[in-house]
Structure formats: structure tokens, C-alpha cells
């Protein structure tokens, strides 16, 4: 036990410090870019902070923006822990939203207590189904999941365009001849209730937070979660230990897709317009949450609970970016570029983190069996 105690602090410090340094590095590069563009970085970041946290409304917006990032990020925690790289969050969000919207259009007269859970559940399941496809392709046909999820994103987006221009279009759009590819105002029975009057803070935020705790319990306190992590850590050893690696690979992608699907549904039913609209691209609907959720999860060290503050951080950056744009006339796209830098810095510092952990492991040989995922991976959570 003393060795375990000794192991904890350094692991925790390194795990927390590296992503923080990565963000600081990105913000520093951002400051240089701001100077190059003729803006005062202090003023710019001040405006960003104020835009994200300056009022009750701003905080609510930040929370709403963080919600899809958190949900996608939770799915990423599961899949990346299983060593499955799911780049299909965008498509899974779209498919989850489409199926959820279809339910709301089909049975609009159900009471809210039935319809709202129904649409969210359907979004979750549909996203899971869409995520399951690359899962099966990877596990049983050996198809690289990075590529298949990217391709399925394209399929999902075209499916969305097809449906929103055809079967699901608002009849009023056809009558008026404007043909904007959007649904009608969806049944109010499926609206996510607003929790704080005069803000957009809706129930979806709470759902995401509760699910983060569930995913934590699932990954670290259940056998299935343990096996998912074991498969990701060492598939060979897992196989010898009697774990069906293929099944768990599929499961990881199904769950990952399901959380993204739920994020898509919450995006629609928590939106101001309560419609689903397409501008022809995935980003137009998701706001790149399918990608930024990966950023948040990585920043959160692939841990569900630390992904919460990470999502809020990136939600805040996205919301504050608009204020920054108005204050110093630098386009909000700056934040998108900085998100990219954060990802690059986080994965780049991974080597340094690994080296530090390895050196420690060499000093203190670990008596654990091979099949067990290393304690250090989760040590900062305990």
C-alpha cells in the first residue's frame, strides 16, 4: 500500500498539469495571434471571460453550449478507453436528432411526460445504432473505424439534407414556396423545460451532468466498464482472460454513438426555434460539437468527471468568442483555431507524460497482473 500512496500524487499532478499547460500554451499562441491582428490580448480575453461568465444569462449560455460537448465527450471517454477512435460524433448527433425529430413529428400529441423521454431515448438509441455500424465493421471486418466513421458522417449529413428537404420539411415552407430545409415547430410537449426563467438553461444540462456521474460509475465500478477498459489497455491479455474483445469493441462504439445521438436530440429540443434546420453541412447543425467533444474529453483526461469542467471551459470559449469579436473586432473563428491547438498540444505532451509515468514505473515494479488496466490511468479520479 505505501507504494500506491507514493504513486498517487505524481500521477495526479502530471495528469492534471499537462492539459492545463496545453491550454495555457494555446492561449499564449492565441495572444500572439491577437497582437499580430492588432488587438490587445488582455482586452480580448477579458471580453471573452465577460461574455462567458459576465451575467446569469451568459453562464446559462455557457452551460447550454457545454452540454453537447459533455455528452459527446462522455461517449469519447468510453470509446477511447476501449482504444477505439470515434471521429463520427458529427454524424451520430445528426442521426440521433433525425430519429428523435421523427418521433416528435409522428406522435406530437403525447403528453410531455411521455413524449420528452421518448424523443431523448430514441435519439440515444439511434445514435447508438449509427455508432454500432463502424463497431461491427471494425470488430468483424477489420475496417479502420477512423475512416468508416468519417464516411458515415457524410452519409448522415446527406440523409439529413434529404429528409429535411423532403419528407420532414415544414409544410408551410412548401406552401410559401420558400422551401427552407427545416421542420415545422416541433411539438411543445417535447420541449426541454427551461430551468431558470429568462435564460436558455434547460433540463438537458442536468441530464448531461447526471450522465457524467453514471458513466464514471459505469467505467470504474461495473464489470462491463472494467472490461471495456481492459480491452483498450491490452486486447491480447483480455482475450486470454476470456473477454470477448469483438463484442466489447462494438459496445464501446454503440455507447459512444448513443451519447452523441442524445446530444443531437438535446440540441434540437433545447434550441430556441424548436426546429431542426440544415444549411447543407454537418457543422451547420452540430456547431462542430462532434469534434469539439473529442477536444473536451481529451482535455478532461478521458475521465467522465473531469470532462465536465473541460466541456464548460470549451463551452465558455465558444460563447465568449462572440463577445471577443465585438470587443476587439477579431473574428470568433479564432476560438476554433485555438481548440485545434489545444488538441495538438494535449496529444503532443502525451509523450512527456508517458515518459514521466514510465520512469516512475521503472523505479517501482508493479505487482499487478497483466490484464488489469494500470491504476495510474485512473488514479487522479480516486
Amino acid at each position: 500500500m505505501p507504494s500506491l500512496l507514493k504513486r498517487l500524487p505524481l500521477g495526479a499532478i502530471v495528469d492534471v498539469l499537462m492539459p492545463v499547460l496545453a491550454v495555457l500554451g494555446a492561449l499564449l499562441v492565441g495572444a500572439l495571434m491577437l497582437i499580430a491582428l492588432g488587438a490587445n490580448p488582455v482586452e480580448a480575453y477579458g471580453a471573452l471571460l465577460e461574455g462567458a461568465f459576465g451575467s446569469a444569462n451568459a453562464i446559462a449560455e455557457t452551460a447550454v453550449k457545454a452540454t453537447p460537448l459533455l455528452l459527446v465527450g462522455l461517449g469519447i471517454c468510453i470509446s477511447f478507453r476501449a482504444n477505439v477512435i470515434n471521429i463520427g460524433g458529427e454524424g451520430q448527433m445528426v442521426v440521433g436528432a433525425l430519429f428523435a425529430v421523427a418521433v416528435a413529428l409522428a406522435v406530437p400529441n403525447l403528453p410531455p411526460l411521455l413524449l420528452l423521454p421518448a424523443v431523448l431515448l430514441v435519439g440515444f438509441l439511434a445514435g447508438g445504432l449509427w455508432g454500432g455500424i463502424p463497431g461491427v465493421l471494425k470488430a468483424y471486418l477489420n475496417v479502420n473505424e477512423i475512416l468508416s466513421t468519417i464516411m458515415l458522417n457524410i452519409v448522415a449529413v446527406q440523409g439529413m439534407n434529404f429528409l429535411l428537404r423532403g419528407a420532414m420539411i415544414d409544410p408551410a415552407e412548401i406552401e410559401a414556396g420558400t422551401r427552407i430545409p427545416q421542420t415545422m415547430r416541433l411539438s411543445p410537449a417535447a420541449d426541454l423545460p427551461v430551468l431558470v426563467p429568462d435564460t436558455r438553461l434547460h433540463l438537458g444540462v442536468i441530464i448531461a451532468l447526471v450522465l457524467a456521474v453514471f458513466v464514471y460509475i459505469f467505467l470504474w465500478r461495473t464489470t462491463i466498464g472494467y472490461r471495456i477498459r481492459a480491452v483498450g489497455h491490452n486486447p491480447e491479455a483480455s482475450r486470454y482472460a476470456g473477454i470477448n474483445v469483438k463484442q466489447y469493441t462494438v459496445l464501446a462504439l454503440v455507447l459512444s454513438g448513443a451519447f452523441a445521438g442524445l446530444a443531437g436530440a438535446i440540441l434540437v429540443f433545447g434550441s430556441e426555434s424548436h426546429r431542426m434546420v440544415t444549411d447543407g453541412s454537418a457543422t451547420g447543425f452540430t456547431g462542430s460539437a462532434g469534434f469539439n467533444g473529442i477536444v473536451a474529453a481529451l482535455f478532461g483526461g478521458l475521465h467522465p468527471l473531469t470532462t465536465i469542467p473541460a466541456s464548460f471551459l470549451f463551452g465558455a470559449l465558444l460563447v465568449g468568442a462572440n463577445k471577443l469579436q465585438r470587443a476587439v473586432q477579431v473574428p470568433a473563428a479564432l476560438i476554433g483555431a485555438l481548440n485545434g491547438l489545444v488538441v495538438i498540444f494535449v496529444v503532443s505532451t502525451d509523450l512527456i507524460r508517458r515518459r514521466l509515468t514510465q520512469r516512475r514505473a521503472l523505479r517501482e515494479p508493479q505487482p499487478e497482473s497483466e490484464t488489469r488496466p494500470p491504476q495510474t490511468e485512473s488514479s487522479h479520479a480516486k
Partner: protein, 312 residues
């Protein structure tokens, strides 16, 4: 009704425009082929294309020199390729994820620069379509093959050149060696990291030029997310073409032709809009099918996306 609209002229137009639309995919995918053959998966192609597209566009509207436009794209490709290689090769980062970082960076940065430096969309001059005596005047074939811009011909010229380099030169042999078995290559005195730096930078330059082929050859404009995911498709095309330039070209032509068909459908009304959406799905579905077949019959470079750690 359908047969009336589908005249020979329309068909010829579709094939010719398909070849033009395949160009940007081809540059990016041929470049990516080199990186992947040497064992590096660069998923940031789309972001690099966007930066190249903007850089070329900006240089052209400022100087009105197409040559400077391409040169700017090349420079951007060099810098981003160097950064990508440093992250993937030297720092041994997880390539599937670092690529997403480069994509997000390029997506945001190109939009930022466009809004800050240009603001309102200005048309840029584009590479003129060449008129080759005799060839361009041939019926049908002239229209389909011989009335394109220099950028189109360069892209297709890359196919035999890269085939030759990969299969017939020492450099190509080294590239394939470090992609299959970096340890063995290292033992034989091949500098694994230098080869991988070279291929990643080369791939990045070609991706940036591919972006430029969109902004200053095909379209003459820049806008946010101009490539709309073409770089990701280019990565998949390399698998589709089983790491052979000719196969990659086949895939690029497929995407180009479908895009041309969709475009023609939208303007002439041959295909209803909804049909166009379904048609645009087809290349992605075909790519997945090709991936299923490819992974059964062709072996990918054994060390693909695995960083090389010496002495481990």
C-alpha cells in the same frame, strides 16, 4: 423527359466537370499516399487544404499572380507539414487525434484570416483553361480531356510520377520499407524519421496545393469551410486505392464524377434535389464497401499510424 435532358452535350459536360472536380481530391490523396506508405496517417489534410486554399486566394487577390498564389500554398504546406511531422514523428503523438487538431486549427484559422484580411467575398482570377492546338478541337475528346487548366493536368501528371517514385526509385523503396518495418529499415541504415518527415511534408504541400486548386483554379473564391470535408475523403481514398496512385486516381474520379452529376442535376434539373442528396451519399457508401474489400485483400503498410521508437 429524362432522355431529352440527358443529351450527349450534357453528358460530355458532366464528365469534363467531373475531371475538374476530381483535381483537388487527387492532389491531397496522392500526397497522403506518400505519408501513409511511410507509416504516418495525416488526418489533418482538410485543415491544410483550407489554409492552402486561403493562402493562394489571398496572394492572388493581392498580387494578381497565379504563380505567387501556388507558391504561397506551397509555403503554407511546408510549414504545416513540418509541424505535423514534428507532432507525429518526433513527439510520437496519436495520429488519429493530432490530425483532428490540425483540421480544427485550419478550419478556424482560414476562416479567421479570411474575415479579418478580406471580409467581403471578392472573386479571384483563376487559371485559364488551356487551348491545345488540334487536341482541344477534337470532337467529344477535346471537351472531355483537353480543355482544362494547368492545375488539372499537373494533378493527373502526378499519378505516373508518384507511381514511378514509389516503385522504381531508392527513395520509394525506403518509404515503403519504413512503412512496413521501421526497425529493419533502421538496421539497414535508413533514417526513419527523415523519410517520414519528407513524406509528411510532401503530402502536406500537395494538400495545400489541392486547396489552392479549389480556390484559384476551380472556383475563384474563398469561403468558410470551402473544402467541406474533401481532405477527410482524400485520406479514405488512399485506402480505397490500396496505396497505389492509379487506384487513388480512380477513387478521385469517382468522387469528381458524382459531384459533377449532382451539380448538373441541381442546375439542369435532371435529378431532383432530393435525388442529388442520395447521389452524394453514394461515394461514401462505396468507400466503406471498398474499405471492407481492401482490408481483406490488400495489406495496409504494417507500421501505419504507429510512431517509431528507437531501441524499444
Amino acid at each position: 423527359m429524362l432522355s431529352e435532358l440527358l443529351t450527349t452535350d450534357v453528358l460530355i459536360g458532366i464528365v469534363a466537370s467531373g475531371i475538374r472536380l476530381a483535381t483537388s481530391y487527387l492532389y491531397a490523396a496522392i500526397g497522403e499516399t506518400f505519408g501513409q506508405l511511410s507509416g504516418v496517417l495525416n488526418l489533418g489534410v482538410d485543415g491544410i487544404m483550407l489554409m492552402g486554399a486561403f493562402g493562394a486566394y489571398y496572394a492572388v487577390i493581392k498580387t494578381d499572380s497565379l504563380f505567387l498564389g501556388v507558391l504561397t500554398a506551397v509555403g503554407i504546406g511546408l510549414i504545416m507539414g513540418l509541424a505535423m511531422a514534428y507532432v507525429s514523428v518526433t513527439l510520437q503523438a496519436e495520429q488519429g487525434i493530432s490530425g483532428i487538431g490540425f483540421y480544427l486549427f485550419g478550419l478556424g484559422m482560414s476562416d479567421l484570416l479570411f474575415r479579418k484580411l478580406v471580409g467581403t467575398p471578392l472573386p479571384a482570377s483563376t487559371f485559364p483553361r488551356l487551348h491545345i492546338p488540334l487536341l482541344s478541337d477534337m470532337p467529344i475528346l477535346g471537351e472531355v480531356f483537353f480543355r482544362h487548366s494547368l492545375m488539372v493536368y499537373l494533378a493527373f501528371l502526378l499519378v505516373p510520377i508518384s507511381s514511378y517514385v514509389i516503385n522504381r526509385t531508392t527513395f520509394g523503396l525506403k518509404v515503403r520499407a519504413v512503412g512496413q518495418n521501421p526497425e529493419a529499415g533502421d538496421t539497414l541504415g535508413i533514417n526513419v524519421n527523415r523519410i517520414r518527415y519528407t513524406t509528411v511534408i510532401l503530402g502536406s504541400v500537395l494538400a495545400a496545393v489541392g486547396g489552392a486548386s479549389l480556390s484559384i483554379a476551380l472556383l475563384g473564391i474563398f469561403q468558410q469551410n470551402l473544402t467541406n470535408g474533401q481532405g477527410f475523403i482524400a485520406v479514405a481514398l488512399v485506402y480505397f486505392g490500396a496505396w497505389r496512385p492509379a487506384g487513388v486516381m480512380g477513387g478521385a474520379l469517382l468522387y469528381g464524377l458524382v459531384a459533377a452529376l449532382v451539380l448538373a442535376g441541381n442546375t439542369t434539373g435532371i435529378i431532383p434535389r432530393s435525388g442529388a442528396d442520395i447521389a452524394a451519399m453514394m461515394p461514401a457508401l462505396l468507400t466503406i464497401l471498398a474499405l471492407v474489400i481492401a482490408t481483406r485483400q490488400v495489406h495496409q503498410p504494417a507500421a501505419l499510424s504507429k510512431p517509431y521508437k528507437r531501441g524499444e
